[in-house]
Amino acid sequence: MHRSLTRDEIAKRVANDIPDGAYVNLGIGLPVLVANFLPSDREVVLQSENGILGMGPTPPENEIDLELVNAGKQPVTLVTGGAYFHHADSFAMMRGGHLDIAILGGFQVSATGDLANWSLGKPGVAPAVGGAMDLAVGAKSLFIMMEHNMKDGGAKIVERCTYPLTGIGVVTRIYTDIAVIDVTPQGLLVTDWVAGMTRETLQSRTQAKLAFAASPRALN
């Protein structure tokens, strides 16, 4: 038997992989949790697409400022050393490869690192992409955080995405509740997995073909 990581545990693991001094953008949803687990001995600078570098935590209720919000329009703060800038500069930062890491949620990731995370392709629903496509192509590394499987058990790590794409060949690494998987030129490589899981089980929950590192680390 194996257990699955909670959302907070996934976030903690991702946070541990972010090096001191990194410039990072955290997408809406699951990625936002990463901010709560950044090791206190590292300086990690968070960027927000709406023109903030050095985004800090949620303020106490009495210090909320509705002109200082994050990409999800939630109140945030500015850390010492932070700066404000306009949207064209903000997306130049993203698109121009200046961010070390972008962390996004995902609906599907393909064996070649394609990402689908912005639309379920339902007819009649207005398309809404926000900054996802800019982040996907721009950051030096793109980490995807997501549940390994859909609620009905279906695979989210697939040979080819069936949902509308966000970007082609953009994903660097996938963090799920049961594994950490690198996207390599040779395909998907499992580097970490939860204790007690067999390769067969992990593969059976993954549509794309997996390779396994010589000695995968325990994910916990």
């Binding site: 927000s48 697409e49 709406n50 023109g51 903030i52 400022d65 509705l66 002109e67 200082l68 919000v69 329009k73 500015l78 404000y84 800038f85 306009h86 949207h87 064209a88 903000s90 997306f91 993203m94 698109r95 639309s119 009649g124 207005a126 398309p127 809404a128 992409v129 926000g130 900054g131 996802a132 496509m133 800019d134 192509v137 721009g138 509308p164 794409l165 966000t166 970007g167 082609i168």
Partner: protein, 226 residues
Amino acid sequence: MINKIVNSLAEAVAGIHDGATVLLSGFGGAGMPTELIHALIDQGARELTVVNNNAGNGETGLAALLKAGRVRKMVCSFPKSSNSYVFEGLYREGKVELECVPQGTMAERMRAAGAGLGGFYTPTAYGTQLAEGKETREINGRQYVFELPLKGDFALVKAERADRWGNLIYRKAARNFGPVMCMAAATTIVQVREIVELGRLDPESIVTPGIFVKRVVGVATPQLSS
């Protein structure tokens, strides 16, 4: 003497014609020129193309403009929010058109308009639905999508402080689309919390130089809409 200060919101939005493309600053509530939008509703222009990152929330500001039936088309990156039911209803009924543009491409298209460029190649959206039908090109081994400038007939922008020359500074993350929209419109109209004497804004810290601004109106205690 240059004096871009006008005395009323009505004067500020005068002349916006039916069919105009109107750029609206703001990202969610931060930077939304609520009072200028309400003045535009009173002013009566119809068949507008409106550019904003979102498509309104609740029933004030942009949502009120949509509800009043003045918008033919929205250009935005994320027409969804907690209470964007006005837009969603109109969209479902086919009463408003939507052009969904990746957020960075939207900002860059307006900058290109303001900077007099004919268009540019961006890697964003290559190979996705949002680039369908668009020209693509490989440059130095990477794939790009061709994008055209996005020019406004008018921009309605919220800033923090202005002088009579139209020099502007913004406040915190309410800056967002303001500076590029000021550049990208033929006529830029700005509401500010405070109007100060010429010379009171630090020349090193002015974000939008007055050359990009046509009219300024003071709104000391703006209402929040998004």
